[in-house]
Symmetry: C2
Subunit: 335 residues, 2 copies
């Protein structure tokens, strides 16, 4: 019997849903508005509506083994949102497994939206065939996900993978997490823009380049894409920003390499539109920040799945939690 | 049928061996000299001699399912020592599974000596009953071990868990790993002693306490035990050293909490003879260095198994690798 899973990706603007086979073949990709501002209950209703639409399109629930959800924030084992989803008012405290079970008779599972992209990259993308991988999503902030021993590692309460808050500068820039010097203050899209502006503002007039002129004229328009467009043109100031960004990122990568010794670390998110230059620059710095012996057996790669990683990972979670992982847990209970 | 495993703990001076049941009951604890200076081949011969002695004592190989070895350094999947065992000349490059298989007809497995203590604490000690734990062994250096999703996490080439080299001070003290500011430069036995000497040397005469007098009189005699004896007597200078040590340790713990969100972080090794004062002081600092929401669901505890953790963990590895883990991998191969 073909086994199918429904995956839902909860974004700030849209909910995205798909139905997927174990091999990663997806169909019925569907979007509905999240309506985040209307509160947690409304978001949940929209999720139920989306699941219903997908079931309708499929025409039958017979082969569907469960529903997986990727959501901002932390999801505890029982399906309660326990924090970390600040841009979804009223989402914290919601119980999301029961309503799905009740309305569709399907078991539900969920994970952090970035964490599940790691599962997707491992099953279908840049991490395929490896046993241990780590993903870093360089977006507005930096999120992370870990696959360890061929299983997604969620941590004890769905909170693992907060790799954007690895401290890379003692007493560095203040972060909204309360710490100082978190890597996301330097190497997220936001961090890169702020760093570039600071670098340009500190230049003498003689040192200014076309990049610096553009930044100083309209700093509010700067994006990480613009920074890396100039890096590609070899603008010296933009290249210096890239070095600063990648040195900080390499400090975090070095800690991950020493702690987890994965086969591969995958960099994704909007910033990675810049591509290979970031991989190359970070790779140059990493040996300074970990055991070179360990780093020799690891590499950096660009994420392959793009914007559908979330929805594929959410569906992948269903297979992970309701078939693969269960085998081991059943065995453990016998011991 | 009762299943038994042989565990071997490779120390710089002695090899320790035991035979253990799945429930952790050990017998025939035996020691032979490591003879590290005579080179890798001699160490391997001594391991074979030790296994033979234990088999003789047991009187039968019938119920023994394998041999597990905890060793300094990194062991690749095929049983080759690929580095990190500097105090065992000629150990790097040795193949340790084949000779055991040939001489005894038993499969062998191995792991880093600190990594396997994490397995022991999780199966039989302070980590029992949890799904995800991290151990930090505060000795001459700092080693680490991770249990993730109810499985020991060795990393891709037996190299995971180098948690002593988490950077906690950007451009801090030089470490022998090549990095600067590694936590083991501040919170290992060696690091604590060096830190205490520096603190005492910087004091004005008026600020000197009985602890400072003792340190400055014979700095070469100082041990972390002496530091913590004075902490217990509330010596202000010793207490200040404790604060500095624990603040640094808390920075590493914070990174581990954010990255792995374990149920518990277990502190062991010689330094932890000091006991609860370190747990309490570190716990006070950790919320400054991670998401408090994640830390709320984690705690710090003292390792319970003492000096036999290594040999119990090495035997535990046999059950882990030849029964529990195999179930999952067989299933994966079918997919």
């Amino acid at each position: 019997m073909e086994q199918l899973a429904i995956g839902i990706d909860l974004g700030g603007t849209n909910l995205k849903g798909i139905i997927m086979s174990r091999e990663g073949e997806g169909r019925h990709l569907t979007r509905v508005p999240t309506e985040a501002k209307k509160g947690g209950q409304k978001v949940l209703e929209n999720i139920l509506t989306l699941v219903d639409k997908i079931v309708q399109k499929e025409g039958s629930k017979d082969n569907i083994i469960g529903v997986g959800i990727g959501t901002p924030g932390f999801v505890d084992r029982d399906g309660t949102i326990i924090g970390g989803a600040e841009n979804l008012p009223g989402w914290k405290g919601m119980q999301i497994y029961e309503p799905i079970q009740q309305q569709f008779g399907l078991p539900a599972t969920a994970g952090n939206d970035v964490t599940v992209t790691a599962l997707a990259e491992w099953r279908f993308g840049a991490g395929k065939g490896f046993k241990n991988i780590v993903c870093l999503a360089l977006g507005t902030g930096i999120g992370g996900g870990i696959v360890a021993n061929d299983l997604l590692y969620k941590g004890s309460h769905g909170m693992a993978g907060e790799l954007g808050h690895i401290c890379v500068e003692t007493n560095g820039l203040q972060c909204n997490c309360g710490q100082k010097g978190c890597v996301e203050r330097y190497a997220s899209a936001t961090g890169i823009v702020e760093l570039a502006i600071r670098v340009c503002q500190e230049l003498d007039v003689k040192q200014q380049t076309p990049f610096a002129h553009e930044v100083l004229r309209k700093p509010q328009n700067l994006t990480s894409k613009i920074v890396y467009d100039y890096v590609k043109r070899n603008d010296p100031v933009a290249c210096r920003v890239n070095e600063l960004v990648c040195e900080k990122l390499a400090r975090a990568v070095g800690i991950i390499v020493n702690a987890l010794s994965p086969d591969r670390i995958i960099l994704g998110g909007g910033v990675m539109m810049a591509g290979q230059v970031i991989i190359d620059t970070v790779s140059r710095y990493v040996p300074m920040f970990c055991w070179p012996e360990v780093w020799k057996r690891c590499d950096l790669a660009i994420a392959q799945l793009g914007e559908n990683a979330g929805v594929l990972g959410a569906a992948g979670l269903v297979f992970e939690d309701f078939t693969d992982r269960r085998i081991l847990e059943d065995r453990r209970d016998d011991v």
